[in-house]
């Protein structure tokens, strides 16, 4: 069992620097003003990469039992289910308009 994974200090510093670099990148992207769909995709893409780095290397999921990673995956999956199906309602409403 690799639950007691010990990272080297150098490695932890490397992870943090990568995260700080990505933070810089996302702020820079905000100044670039990408056209609409790309704007969201770039920023959320960077956020996802950052979250992945934190989860994998700070929270040690990379070395941990797969079940804990599965738990994280499940929570995100069910969040998507919740939001996705709710959007099936909120985005597709067709309210009638009174004629008088």
């Amino acid at each position: 069992m690799s639950g007691h994974h010990v990272s080297t200090a150098k490695f932890l510093w490397g992870v943090a620097i990568a995260l700080l670099f990505l933070t810089f990148l996302t702020v820079a992207a905000a100044w670039m003003h990408f056209p609409e769909p790309w704007n969201v995709i770039v920023k959320l893409g960077i956020a996802v990469v950052k979250a992945f780095i934190v989860a994998a290397f700070f929270m040690n999921l990379w070395w941990d039992t797969k079940f804990n990673a599965l738990l994280l995956f499940m929570s995100i999956l069910f969040l998507f289910i919740f939001v996705g199906i709710t959007l099936l309602d909120t985005l597709y409403r067709t309210d009638p308009i009174p004629g008088f």
Binding site: R93, D95, P96, I97, P98, G99, F100
Partner: protein
């Protein structure tokens, strides 16, 4: 159509009711067959394989793929039939024909007001023509209500921030009950209205003249009828009980303290003001929740209500 479960359904009074009922009967009958069948098998097993001695062992039967696939696939087919049948019926019930006659409904705690195209307004009475699709566009003044007429098999929630609609085509002149089906507070169960179906000609006539019944009544009698039919009784009693609003009993001529601290005498002007702009002078201890009757009562009717209130002495 004599079917086993006819007693469970109200009369079919709209063109789409039959479709709903057919599916209702189908599901109930199939369910009954399955329920009785499975129960019989269970009881038969309980009898046939009853324990005969204490140290019996039983054969090891862990599973049977054929059997399990069968009893997964057959119910799946059945529910898919029910799904598509129900969805078809739903589409028919939610898409009104283009030529549907439009009526606006406004729900308030706890009464219904219906606005017609010529500006006519009726309270707690929905007048519709027979044999013509009617489309009701609804909104609420406060909380969520729901428009439910069992005879037509229609129901739709009435929302405060959006318009929703129902449509139906009544098949014959007559009356049906309209319920509020979404819980909305104290008098939720009194938020009923009558759906009155006229022939096309009678409906045109009603739109022109409104209720003809008031012609030969005395003002006080007319007033009494109006108070009962306009939904006033949901909040105002005539026997002294305090509901959501003050009681009418002995109110006329009395002084009343208002929420802003001032006092007024309940006279003709105050009653008229309270009907037309109800929330400008609210009695102390009550909420400003009464809807306006400016569009639904004419001068003669207001006078009649005033006359009626005068008769309610303690």
């Amino acid at each position: 159509m004599n079917r086993l479960f006819d007693f469970m359904l109200p009369p079919e009074k709209s063109t789409t009711a039959g479709e709903v009922d057919a599916l209702f009967h189908f599901i109930t009958e199939v369910s009954l067959i399955l329920l009785l069948g499975i129960t019989a098998v269970m009881l038969y097993f309980a009898f046939k394989y009853r324990r005969k001695s204490e140290d019996e062992t039983t054969p090891l039967i862990t599973h049977n793929n054929t059997l399990e696939i069968t009893w997964s696939v057959i119910p799946l087919i059945l529910v898919l039939i029910v799904f598509s049948w129900g969805y078809q019926g739903y589409l028919a019930k939610t898409n009104p024909p283009d030529d549907a006659y439009e009526i606006r409904a406004v729900a308030t705690s706890w009464l219904w007001q219906f606005h017609y195209q010529n500006g006519h307004v009726s309270t707690n009475e929905l007048h519709v023509p027979a044999n013509r699709p009617v489309r009701i566009i609804m909104s609420s003044d406060d909380v969520i209500h729901s428009f439910y007429v069992p005879d037509y098999r229609v129901k739709m929630d009435v929302l405060p921030n959006r318009y929703t609609q129902v449509w139906f085509e009544a098949t014959e002149p007559g009356e049906s009950v309209l319920y509020c089906a979404e819980y909305c507070g104290t008098a939720h169960s009194d938020m009923l209205a009558d759906v009155i179906v006229h022939t096309q000609e009678d409906f045109e006539l009603w739109l022109e003249t409104g209720d003809a019944i008031d012609e030969d009544l005395s003002p006080a009698e007319l007033g009494e009828q109006l108070v009962q039919r306009q939904g006033c009784m949901a909040c105002h009693s005539t026997d002294g009980t305090v509901l959501q609003g003050p009681s009418f009993l002995g109110a006329f001529g009395r002084d009343r303290e208002l929420t802003d601290g001032t006092t007024v005498t309940i006279d003709e002007n105050y009653i008229r003001q309270s009907l037309l702009e109800p929330n400008t002078q609210v009695a102390a201890g009550f909420q400003p929740i009464m809807p306006s009757y400016a569009a639904s009562l004419n001068d003669r009717q207001i006078d009649a209500i005033i006359e009626y209130l005068k008769t309610l002495e303690e």
